[in-house]
């Protein structure tokens, strides 16, 4: 009896501890994952990315990173970190080993302040050095291929100081450079380094209140007022079509993220429930999202890094907010001063300047499914996306985009009645209307004979009733007039 009790105790204890272990493994993220619903409320959602590891300079055996400013992943999977404080660029291979350290360029010497780096498809490394006021292009073998220090053009003022901070390169090797003190937009350079022009000027917003006060102020007062200048871009990336995704840090802008076509127009799709601007609800003391980096994930998806609250916002090609993760804190998997975000095809990497480390986030099942379904949808495989959206709904039944995705596929499959249900769940009115119109037409066609029969019967019955009533009234009138006549006669 006692042995039995003892055994039971051990078994129970082991069960208890194993579940405890399991829970430790599945311990939640340090941040609360959420998303916004149709009513613009933040609702809890499963996490899409969870922290998997944090890599610092010490871990790599090269001494701590000092104020690293940028990070980029090459096409071969190696990670380039601009270790600005140490005046070097660290190249890490996919196995997280240091491959090489670039600390000088032949003919130029030591780097100044490396603000931004980019690696193109051929492995050429583009370095925006704001300290040296140079844009340096190094080939894969380490030779200097090109240096831009004084862009020449009629539209550039004579005393212009070129201070490049961020750079991105498209497939034709055209360089897009964000530079300090340039309000005209993003500087565009040809492959051989000649200045092509500016694209994508941020427009100055008119502030009617200010204009009103300007009317009544003297010249001296006016000279003391704030100048209205367009805001500068903060970072940029290039998609597979050569369109530029750019972020700016204008606090009041509803369009902090732009997608610029070759002629510099903003063509970002904003078909979601709300603006593509990060957090749509925030405390006034905290302020809106400030985007410092953006990463194109392929298939129209992009992630933008908000330094104000340390969050990463991922959108799909149509401007739907897919998920949000991250926060500012001291725990592992949180940020202090996030400066750059990268994507290696599966994991997302965030570089933290203050902590001097790279945070690696791996997708959860939920995150993987959402990305997979969005990619399928973007490429036109709506039908193949349906089972994946169904799985997404199993994990998060509040996920409106999944409902809409299923609805769209159902419309294509001419299952309009089911599509109506899904669009209603996803609060998608335009698509709902399309599906409903088709459904209504089908129903009308099907029920045409019934409807017509009912109408004909109703018409006949009403007409019959009216005739009968009229006849009866006439008869009564005749009877009354008859009686009146008789009374008079009597």
């Amino acid at each position: 009896m006692r042995i039995k009790k003892f055994v039971t105790a051990i078994v129970l204890a082991s069960v208890l501890f194993s579940t405890a272990l399991l829970e430790a493994v599945h311990a939640g993220t340090p941040y609360e994952a959420y998303n916004y619903n149709y009513w613009e409320e933040a609702v809890a959602s499963p996490a899409a990315f969870v922290p998997s590891r944090a890599v610092s300079g010490q871990d790599l055996g090269i001494g701590p990173f000092v104020e690293p400013n940028d990070m980029v992943i090459g096409h071969d999977g190696s990670i380039y970190v601009a270790d600005t404080g140490n005046k070097r660029i660290v190249v890490i291979n996919a196995q997280w080993e240091v491959e090489r350290i670039i600390d000088s360029a032949p003919g130029i010497g030591e780097f100044g302040t490396i603000s931004g780096i980019f690696v193109d498809a051929d492995g050429d490394l583009y370095i925006a050095d704001s300290g040296l006021s140079k844009l340096i292009v190094l080939s894969k073998t380490g030779e200097v291929r090109l240096v831009i220090d004084k862009p020449q053009s009629d539209i550039i003022a004579a005393g212009f100081k070129f201070t490049p901070t961020k750079v991105a390169v498209d497939e034709a090797k055209r360089m897009y450079v964000v530079a300090n003190g340039v309000f005209e937009g993003i500087m565009q350079f040809d492959a051989d380094g000649s200045f092509l022009g500016y694209i994508g000027t941020n427009e100055v917003k008119r502030d009617y209140y200010e204009i009103f006060w300007r009317l009544f102020s003297t010249k001296e007062q006016r000279s003391q007022m704030v100048l209205f200048i367009p805001t500068e871009f903060s970072n940029l990336d290039i998609d597979h079509k050569g369109f530029v995704y750019a972020t700016n840090i204008d606090l009041n802008s509803l369009t902090p993220i732009k997608r610029l076509n070759p002629s510099g127009e903003d063509v970002l799709k904003r078909y979601g429930y709300f603006e593509v601007r990060g957090d749509i609800r925030y405390r006034t003391s905290v302020g809106p999202s400030i985007f410092v980096d953006i990463k194109y994930l392929g298939d129209g998806l992009y992630s933008a890094l908000d330094s104000n609250q340390g969050k990463v916002f991922t959108y799909d090609a149509e401007g739907n907010l897919l998920f949000i993760y991250g926060m500012l804190a001291n725990q592992a998997g949180t940020f202090k001063t996030p400066v750059a975000i990268e994507y290696d095809g599966e994991n997302q990497l965030v570089l933290d300047r203050a902590k001097g480390n790279i945070n690696v986030f791996k997708p959860t099942k939920f995150g993987k499914l959402v990305l997979q379904a969005s990619r399928l949808h973007y490429n036109g495989y709506s039908e193949e996306a349906v089972p994946i959206w169904q799985q997404v709904l199993d994990l998060n039944s509040n996920y409106d985009i999944a409902y809409i995705g299923i609805g769209r596929s159902l419309v294509l499959a001419k299952q309009n009645e089911e599509a109506i249900f899904y669009f209603k769940q996803g609060m998608e009115r335009d698509q709902y209307s399309v599906a409903y119109k088709r459904y209504r037409r089908e129903e009308m066609k099907e029920q045409f004979s019934t409807i017509m029969t009912t109408i004909v019967i109703l018409v006949i019955v009403t007409a019959g009733l009216m005739i009968w009533r009229k006849l009866r009234r006439n008869r009564r009138k005749a009877a009354v007039s008859h009686s009146v006549g008789r009374d008079q006669a009597l």
Binding site: R429, Y432, S433, Y436, R440
Partner: protein, 206 residues
């Protein structure tokens, strides 16, 4: 009842001048029917919020509160009636309080007549047809204002201009009443607070 609740409101809608004249001098219409019409308006509004088609219904279903809907009809109605009576008393209006109540209530008829079937039809509308829905809603509102205008003009025996001025003044007075009400309430609360504090002071003094 049938006469004052069905025949008369329908006549009001299409022949407002003669009907309101009858209301004033022939004692047509009743307070009881007026209350029923207000209740029907409330029901029409509630039905609209609950059952209007998905494409035109932007109400958050979690926030539907019928008690609140009742308040949003009854309170402005009472405010309007009281404010109008106060203003017209000063401006030589001939209307009695009950007449103002009846006129205002009977003016609501188009809302009831239009809202209920429209709510039903809106469930079978596609996006392009919703313009018709909003058009009908505006017509109903304008119709209501028109009836109210004619009614006020008739019961007070005003000219057109004077009626417009009075109606605008009534709206202003409604605001003043709300303001005064809030003022009185806050004052009462402060008095209560004051007395309560004295009570507590005495309690702890012993």
């Amino acid at each position: 009842m049938k006469q004052e609740l069905i025949d008369f409101p329908l006549r009001v809608m299409f022949k407002p001048f003669s009907s309101f004249w009858d209301l004033k001098y022939d004692n047509k219409g009743s307070i009881r029917a007026s209350i029923i019409i207000i209740a029907l308006t409330i029901i029409a509004l509630i039905l609209q919020k609950q059952f209007a088609g998905f494409l035109v219904n932007y109400t958050d279903p979690r926030l539907i509160n019928s008690l609140q809907d009742i308040v949003t009809v009854v309170v402005p109605f009472l405010l309007w009636v009281v404010a109008n009576w106060s203003i017209t008393t000063l401006m030589d209006g001939e209307g009695k309080f009950t007449e103002i109540v009846k006129v205002t209530a009977y003016s609501l008829t188009p809302l009831v007549i239009v809202y209920v079937p429209l709510t039903f039809i809106s469930r079978y509308m596609a996006q392009e047809e919703t313009a018709f829905y909003y058009l009908m809603l505006s017509i109903a509102s304008l119709w209501f204002v028109w009836l109210l205008f004619v009614g006020i003009m008739t019961v007070h025996q005003y000219t057109v201009l004077k009626t417009i001025v009075t109606m605008l003044l009534t709206v202003i007075v409604m605001g003043i009443i709300v303001f005064l009400g809030a003022l009185v309430l806050s004052m009462l609360y402060q008095i209560y607070d004051f007395l309560y504090n004295i009570y507590r002071e005495l309690l702890f003094r012993t």
